[in-house]
Amino acid sequence: MSTSERIKAIQKMPGTMKKKREIRFVSLSSFALQSFRRFGNSLSEYFHLLPLGHKTLKIIGANFGTSVLSYFIFLKWLLAFNFFSFVINFSFITVPQLVAAEPNNLSFTGLELFTGAGYFQETVLYYGFYSNATISKTENGPSYNMQLAYIFTVGIYFVICFLILLFSMAKSFCRNFINPQIHSGIASKLLCIWDFNITNEKAVKLKQKNISMQIKVQNTGEVLNFSATERVVRIVIHLVCWVASLGTAVAACAGVYFLSINNLKEVVKGHKNDLESQAAMLVLPIVASVLNTFMPFFYSWLGHLERFQTPGHQIYVTITRNIILKISIVGILCYYWLNIVAASESQCWETLVGQDIYRLVLVDFIFCLLGSFFGEFLRRIIGTIVCVNLGLPEFDIGRNVLDLIYAQTLTWVGILFSPLLPGIQMISFSIVFYVKKVSLMMNCQPPRKVWRTAQMTTSFMFLLFFPSFLGVLSVIGVTIWRLKPSEECGPFRGLSSMYDAVSEWIKILENYTASKWVVWIYHNLITSELFFFILSVVVLIITYLYWQITEGRKTVIKLLQKQITNEGKEKRLLLEKLWELQRKTENPSMPRGQGQQVSLIVQVLLFQLRAWYDFMGFL
């Protein structure tokens, strides 16, 4: 083993420091003990200073437990995505454009910060500003093809995001969902439930009360048997609640759709830039955010009405309803943008879409801050001064995480139309982080309900990946392949679809012999259906093989468990025989039989040992 592996093994070994020091002295050579490694260690120390809010996270975890901490960790993770996107968009798309920028003739009024239109229309913020030319500083100098840069930057960013999300989700799923419990799991619940992170006295007391309540519930009612009529009533109530929630989601979507169509008529009709028309542009985002803020309360109320069997079930159903609402709102907006706005007679439809998304993101951010203010600060005032029975508010993890997923979905949709949007979202997430932290410390109490952190974290990652990211990928796919970019603005003006930039580039490359391999890869791997068919078949075969291996291993586990139980029984049997033998040796009336019994027991033990080794060899 190399030195670093040996050191890692020493660190992970259980035992006192003294023992570890002895082992370290024996196993590591004198060279390894030298200060050569100290350099690497002190370097890594400086990297430890970098993580934003590391100490903050520790304080949150200490006072509120790991469940609330998971929200802040998720927020930091999303911040990392936005930071990465902003950096590559800025370096590869914006900086070259700034070099070849046209002057901006519009005036700047303060209202642009809210509406995103006006002065901002002619800046690098939106798609429309980017030129389709090949930019070069000097004549015959190195040139920079803006079209290719734009499409490749966005494409590669999404591919990298896809891979990161896929691997994180798979790793998290593997850690938290595989090996489901066979029993109801009270043993693991009891022995693993203590959160050693909590150091706040109030939080500790709350957690203890929580555990005792859980144990009482577990003891009294395990299986509630309902009579037939009661079951029918419950099913009817469930159906009614689902119909209500889906109906309200559909109604919300229809409202948003008609409002946006109205909006578009106003924008296309008149180009006046006065206050009224600017304010009218903000109505759609405000309505969308209001729906997103108040419908979850309605869904929680429905959840209370339904009286689920387990609180975990209630949490999952409420989260599902919320995510259906949010994704359908984003979906209907995408449909509106891609079908109506793209086909309208406006000058530069991509910039319009970008502005819409900018306004949505901004208003969502403002509503998030307002929600924190009203939901937590005022609620605390009400809970402590006016109506003391209510008590302090709890931090609603589910609702907050879904808000984050909604905001991130909007950002991802908007990357193509407004390349600097991730930067704006980065700033907004940072502000949200600090506001939520302050609000949490000042206003909230630790959660009273049990929140299975590890599983919920995996579910949230899954929700981020599956409806959110894949939906965005399909929207971007449709935009790039099917839609006609506007004639007068943007890097793809004049082409029949954005993807044509790539096909035209390949056509140009065919004329150079040096890059024939690129053309070959393009024609035979990326655009050929046969390749993807073969790839899918290979992936399916590998999946099937892994599935069979898993099934086989499950059988082996069952056999081994039976073996362990049998070994335990045999051990007890042998011990009993030994005790009997010991009692008989104290009675010296049968000397010869004693020798026989000893040899018999020794034979049995040897046989057992051999059987055990055979079994291990079989494995």
Binding site: K12, N41, G185
Partner: protein, 180 residues
């Protein structure tokens, strides 16, 4: 990056860095915390390896531990002779295992020892009863406690000897993703 501290020899610091999950700065910070508990007992110079032990009362009054219902067991498990009085080595060891960088297997091993009140390498029923009482602050009736302990042993005892061995415990921890 030079050696400006005079508390430990470079070899001692290297040994600490290799045996715990802490960096040099964190080890020094922990030393200062240890010293702050009893400045008159702990010398500022550890180069000649003095034999200093702090009594449990001081350790148990640290803000990280004072509200933890298992603080006494934690101190006993990590102290050299099991009475809760800790040397600097034990102190660093304890915080290393409790930190977030320690792997789950290591934490599971020490959690087992913490829950094993009578130190016989098995969690028997009486150990479980004490654990449940500490977890719920003595709010349950003895009957409920007994019921819970029986259920736990029934579910987790794989080799059917009526008590939980380290292997049973670790087997259960693997299946519980929420273990911290």
């Amino acid at each position: 990056m030079g050696n400006k501290q005079t508390i430990f020899t470079p070899e001692q610091l290297d040994a600490y860095q290799d045996c715990t999950f802490f960096t040099r700065k964190e080890i020094l910070r922990l030393f200062y915390r240890y010293r702050d508990l009893a400045p008159q007992l702990v010398p500022p110079d550890y180069t000649d390896k003095p034999d200093v032990t702090l009594p449990y009362q001081l350790i148990g009054s640290m803000p990280e531990l004072k509200d933890n219902p298992f603080r006494q067991r934690i101190a006993e498990v990590f102290s050299e002779n099991g009475d809760g009085n800790m040397t600097l080595d034990d102190f660093l060891d304890m915080f290393s295992v409790l930190s977030e960088m320690a792997p789950r297997d290591l934490k599971a091993y020490y959690a087992f020892k913490i829950y094993d009140f009578n130190n016989d390498d098995y969690i028997c029923k009486s150990d479980l009863e004490k654990t449940v009482n500490k977890l719920t602050r003595n709010e349950l009736t003895p009957e409920e406690v007994r019921l819970v302990c029986e259920k736990v042993i029934y579910e987790a005892d794989v080799d059917n000897d009526g008590k939980l061995s380290l292997e049973d415990f670790q087997h259960m921890i693997i299946r519980a993703p929420d273990f911290l």
